[in-house]
Structure formats: C-alpha cells, structure tokens
Amino acid sequence: MRRTIVHSVGDSAFNVLIGGEAGQGLVTVGQLLAKSLVRSGFAVVVTQGYQSRIRGGHNSFSIRFGGGALAAPQEAVNLLVALDQETVRIHGGDIRQDGLVLLGEGLDPGGLASLKVPLRELAEERFSNVVALGAAASLLGLDEEVVVKAMSRTFGGRKAGVAEGNRNALGKAYQWAAAFDLPVESPPAPPLVPLRLMMNGNEAIALGALSAGVRFCAFYPMTPSTTIPLALAGWAGEAGLVVEQAEDEISAVNMAIGASFAGAPSLVATSGGGFALMTEGVSLAGMTETPLVIVIAQRPGPATGLPTRTEQGDLEFVLHAGHGEFPRAILSPGSVEECFQLTRRAFALAEKSQGPVFVLTDQFLADSYRDVKPFDIRSLEPVTAGSPVAGVKVPYERYADAADGVSPRLLPGLTEHLVVADSDEHTRDGHLTEDLDVRRQMVEKRLRKQEILLGEVVPPSLEGAGNPGILLVSWGSVKGAAEEAVSTLRAAGRSAAAMHFSQVWPLAPGQFLEIMRSAERVICVEGNATGQMARLIRRETGFEVREKILRYDGLPITPEYILREIQGGG
C-alpha cells in the first residue's frame, strides 16, 4: 500500500535504499556507497534495519544524502536497490513517483519504474553485490575512482583474485549504467568541502571514550551495543587498553568497578536486558563512589523484544536502576558528534562525581553512519583517575567528609596509604558500620554530589524562537528528525521550534521551563509508547506536556512521521 508521503526539506536530499537478505553483502555495499558519497562531499544519514539472524530474512541499508547538512532519516525512497524480491514487496510503497527501482533481471518491479541490471552478463554471481554498487554509484553520478578507492580499502586485504574480480565487476557495471539516467537528477556534488569522516554512533562513542582516556572495558555481547567494545578491542594493543568479554553482564559491571577502583577509567556497554543484570553494580558504584561510564544502546523491550530494532523505552529504567539513593547523570546524544562529545563528558563527570554516569543511545543512532567533521582530537584532555596524594590527611580516609561530598580518591597499591571501600554502609575510613549517625552523614555526603552534576547539566538546545505556536520536545536520537520537522513547518509559514534534551538527568528547569510555558502547543516526540520524557518533565516541574508523538514499532522517528502526526492531529 502506498503511504501518504509528506515531502519535507528532504526534497533537496536523495534517499537510496538497498534491500536484501542477510549474507548478500548489502551492508558492505551500503557502507561503500555511503563512504563514496562522503568522500564526494555529500552529507549522509544512514538507517540500518536488520533482523536477528545471520542469513536470510530481510535487511535494509538506507542512505539519505544531500549537499547541505542532514541529521535525520527519510522514509520516501528515490532509488531502491533491490537485491531480492522481498525488497520490492516491503519498500515498493515508499518509492516516490519520480523514483526508480534498480534490480536484477530475474526480479519483478511490480509495475514501478525500474531498471534491470543484466547481472549474469556483467560478472560472476559472487560479484553481484559489487555490480549493484557500481550501477547505483554510476546513476548517482559518483566518480568511479572514488568508489574504487573506497573498495580497495575494504577488500584490499583479500586474495588478489577477489580484489580484481570486484574491480572488474565495478568497471563493467559503470560501463553498462553510463547509458541510463535517473528519472530526476540526484543532488549535484557540492563544491570541494573539507575532509569529512564517516562514522556511526557506536564508533563515535568508542572514539570519544578513547580520547577521554578509557583504559578498561568489560562487556557481554548484546545487540546493538556490541560494536562499541569491538572497536575498543580493535585498538587495545596499540592504545594500551584492556578489553575483556566477561561471563555475563553482572561480571562485566563488577570488573569495570574493580578496574576503576584500581585506577583505570572504565566503561561498560550493553542494552536493556543486559543492563537489567548490571543494576546491582550501578548501586555498588554509587555506594563505593567509584567512577563508571555505562553506555546503554536501547532496543525495544520488554524482555528480548525486537533485538535489532530501535526504541527509547528505557529512560525511566535507567533513571531508577539500582537500589538505594545516590547521584547519577544520564546523557542522551542526539547525533554522532554528540555521541563522541557526551561520552567524553561522561568520563569527566564520572571522575568528578565519583559515581555512575550513563550514555543513553539506541539502535538507530548506534548503527547510523553520518558524515562527521574531524574532531580536534589532539587538543582534547583525557581524564585523570584518582586524586593527588599530596595533601591527603593522614591517616588516609577514603570517605573523608567534604563540603561538596567528594573525598580524595587514592588508588590502592600506588601509595603507602591503605584504600578501603565498602558496599556496606561505612565509616570514613571505609569499614562497615551500623552506627546510625554515621549512616545519616554518609547518605548526605553522597547526595551532596548531585549538586556537582546539577552545576554541569548540558542545557537543552532550541531551534527557533521563543513563543512558538508549536514546540517539539525531544531527547536522544530524535533530535535531527524533530529539528527537520520544525524547519519544514517554518518553511510552510507556521510558527514552530524544537527543544532537544541531550541530557535527561538531572534536569535544571531554569534552562527550559519558561520556553515551554511560552509555547501555544508543546508536543513531546519520543520513541516509546507512554511518553516517558513528558512524564519526567511533569514530575520535575509540574508542567504537563499535553501532546505526544510516540513511536514504538521498532523504527526510528522520521521528519515525515512527525509531520503526518501533526497534520493528522490538526
């Protein structure tokens, strides 16, 4: 069925969707095409949809690209590259009227405007995906040499015959496709732009952690978080990191706490179900006042849910995870750049407040490749674990009283002082106690650290002016979609603004409440079924967000989705 397609600023962008079975190499084709686009100067936003299986099923890799900045995915497809019949069936309805299906000669385009590639004529079957890549890249007007270079980096290490076969298949596809044009032109290559990187959210988190001085990572594999520890493991030898696959998430979080206690800035990464196992450890980090960065890449729950899809259903879970009361901060990056920057910030906050700090992302952002301006990575400071030994009071007490609640943190074995930490309520020197006056003092000391976190809250961003007719409120990966929807509304003459929370805890109402009150309509846009952020705002401020645009079918929120909901709801 053809969906109502709402054209947005995306009209200046172009969306290529590659679909096929797992095992057909479509992710490789997608990555190469995206890389070639970035190297040609385009902005890209990649959305990956895959199933929880190794072979078969239906997977998609969509690349939205354009000459200007892009930050959101797009539903409407300009060019559909179908590696199997299922792709036409599932995505045929998303093709624009001026769109095209590119497919193999054995497949049926179902009445859509199409171009059939003589796959068998052009190359052996095992190079079919490269033929598809070449045909698509040629139609998009990409320089063949750019694609060849991207390919040689990916396939460079393979056997000579394979690299050569790929190269020949690409050349044949380019020759063949030269005779054809797209029904409408794809965006022209922008003038020379400075070098951009291509990176997804998880890679940016790993790189952010590395630049922040991470030295230890323990994990238990769980989609969609696993590529974070895998990136760190890939750098472990050259960068001097310890990365260990633990026996379970309980072990992973406790290992990270042990490593952090001993002086290694530490990270764990998981998703909802794995995080459920870690919650006792979160409480342990709070009680022992051990810095810890916890990355949670959300996927739809409850339980195993949809393991490879996206959702923002764990905000309340992460906010409340861990028994007892202790300070925490939750960062919620809205872009790949923010994944890098906020992971760095998480390490700094964890060390400063001596406790757990969360980076809350989701499958969409984790797997979404974007063009990224290179970070000024040289000038960024890493964290230093622990406090200087000079000036500590003797005998040293790990939990010495402090006005801001932060006691000097010496590292065990690196000085002559003894460091004693305890998960029981403890005295200033770290030994377990049931003295109830000490208990009260220690609770207050720990909670004073919330002020430190409150003093460093990332203010919500605002796109558009105050007193808007419509204020879209979003958090985490929805940022780009909400901002693009707002600019489309404004282009149509409507008064609209977008407020985005890149940190969802603690909240500092002084940063946003007046703007919310000044709007005629406030609409929370969230990837969950109940409006968790709206509820949190009401709890903290008393302000009731009356309208919500929610999505919980496992797919990312798009500008079109938001605009449809706004139009549908008046």
């Binding site: 979080v253 206690f261 290694a264």
Partner: protein, 283 residues
C-alpha cells in the same frame, strides 16, 4: 620484612569459637611469610561472615556485593598487575551466588588468590544450606534435608586445570598459613578451599568431625599429575585430603594483555598521534 603485627588486630563480629579466628590468623601469617607489605595487597570480598574477614586486618580492601568478589578482583588485577589481589569470601558467596564467576576465573587462570571459607552452611542468614552442604543436611529451609549433590570446588578447579588448587583446614593453622603463602606466590589462579567449622549453624561438620577425617597429602604425592589430582579431589567422607592437590603449568591470563607488562593502567599518557591516526581511519 613485614611481620604478622603489621597486619593489625581488630574487634570482630564473629561468634566465640568461630572457625574464622584461626583462619584470619593463618591469613596474616601467610601474608607475612610471603613478605608482602599491607599497602601492596588488595583484598576483595563479597558478603557473608567470611567476607568481613578482610575488615579485620590492615590492607587495601574492596568489600563488594554478594557473589561478586571475583569479577571485582579480576578488574582490579588487570588495572594494576603489581597488586597482590586476594579474593576472600564464603562458600555461599563464591560457589553459589558467584558460581559462574568462579568457573570463569578458573578458566581464565588469572593471577588471583582465592580464599574460600567453606563451612557448608549459610551463617549470616542463620543456617540455610549452602552449595557444599552434604546431602541430607537438615535446616529450617530444607526441613526434609538437602536434596542436591554438594558442589566439589576442588574437583571443579582441577578439572579446569586451574593453576594451583589446595584444601586447608582452619584447625590446622600452620599448615593453612603455608598453603596461603604458596597460593600467593603462585602465578595464575590459586584456590584454597578452607574447611572452617561454623559453631552456630552447622552441628554436623564440627571441628571434631573434620579432625577425625582430615589427613595431609604425603610428601611423595605429585600435584603435577592431573589424573591423580582428579582422583584425590573426589575423595570426601571418611577421609579428606589436605594440602596442594594440583599445580598446573598454564600461562597466567594476565600475560594475554601485552600492555600490562608496562605496569598499572592508571596515570598513563594518552598518545595523541595515535588518537589522530585512529580517527583518520574513518576518513
């Protein structure tokens, strides 16, 4: 050289006559015999009466959660390979709640010393069955007697070819202190399962019960013979062997991380050229 006094003396929360008292003394003696200064030692414990033991001596300590001593100890050891890390807790903590971690630590053969106070009962929660309680052991929670087969930590460790596997008895103080010294000096994981009578909640496995059964492995016993060690590890009941049951030759897990030969992970400089090179791979 440090001596036993350097490890201090503290008031405890244990019952009079508890098997933990001679055990604590043997731990201090073992540490002193190994020549370790308190500030070079990190104890990691879980929860239970046994897990309180490291509070009663002078050393670095992380007293964590029930069952989780080994993961914390593993993380700390990997962050600072120069520390002597000793995980100390009871049978419920190490073999029950932390069972998966126990298996994983043995398989890794990381350079940790694992001291398990094994009294075959839960003391702190007042007398329920533990993973090592004998079949038929009657408690308020198991009024018809324990159904499950008791967990055999020594046989499990030998079967996984853990580096150093021993059994001690808190009634044999000097013998135990020497096992603890050897365990600390062994590079790789070393398990000392310590029979430690609970005078309040285990009226079956008492000091007298153990004294009638335990014997020292003879001088000619070769702990490097894995098949013999497997056989000895299964001996329990009428006679219970004490001493070093198995010594393996596996490499310590710590060696898998070349960066650890450069010392602790704390305080290292970030190589900014390398950061830039890694980032450039995304260009």
């Amino acid at each position: 050289m440090p001596d036993v006094e350097d490890y201090g003396s503290f008031e405890t929360a244990w019952c009079p006559g508890c098997g933990n008292f001679p055990l604590l003394k043997a731990v201090k003696e073992g540490l002193a015999a190994a020549g370790l200064e308190p500030c070079r030692v990190l104890f990691v414990s879980g929860i239970g009466q046994a897990a309180k033991a490291p509070h009663y001596l002078r050393a670095n300590l992380f007293n964590g959660l029930h069952g989780r001593a080994l993961p914390v100890a593993t993380g700390a050891k990997l962050a600072n390979p120069g520390l002597t890390v000793i995980a100390e807790s009871g049978d419920g903590c190490m073999y029950g709640e932390g069972g998966n971690h126990f298996l994983a630590a043995l398989r890794r053969n990381i350079d940790l010393t694992v001291l398990v106070h094994n009294n075959q009962v839960y003391g702190l929660t007042k007398g329920q069955a533990s993973p090592t309680s004998g079949a038929g052991f009657v408690t308020k929670a198991q009024p018809a007697g324990v159904w499950s087969e008791p967990f055999n930590p020594v046989a499990t460790a030998v079967s996984l070819r853990a580096g150093f596997v021993a059994r001690g008895f808190s009634g044999w103080g000097d013998h135990l202190a020497d096992l603890i010294r050897q365990a600390i000096e062994h590079r790789g994981i070393s398990l000392v399962d310590i029979l430690q009578p609970c005078v309040s909640f285990n009226k079956v496995n008492t000091f007298a019960w153990y004294r009638e059964r335990v014997y020292d492995l003879p001088g000619e016993y070769d702990p490097r013979d894995w098949e013999k060690a497997m056989k000895i590890s299964m001996e329990w009941g009428e006679r219970i062997p004490l001493g070093v049951v198995y010594r393996g030759e596996r490499r310590a897990f710590d060696d898998a991380f070349t960066t650890l030969s450069e010392g602790p992970l704390a305080g290292r400089n970030t190589d900014r050229d390398l950061l830039e090179r890694i980032m450039d791979r995304y260009a």
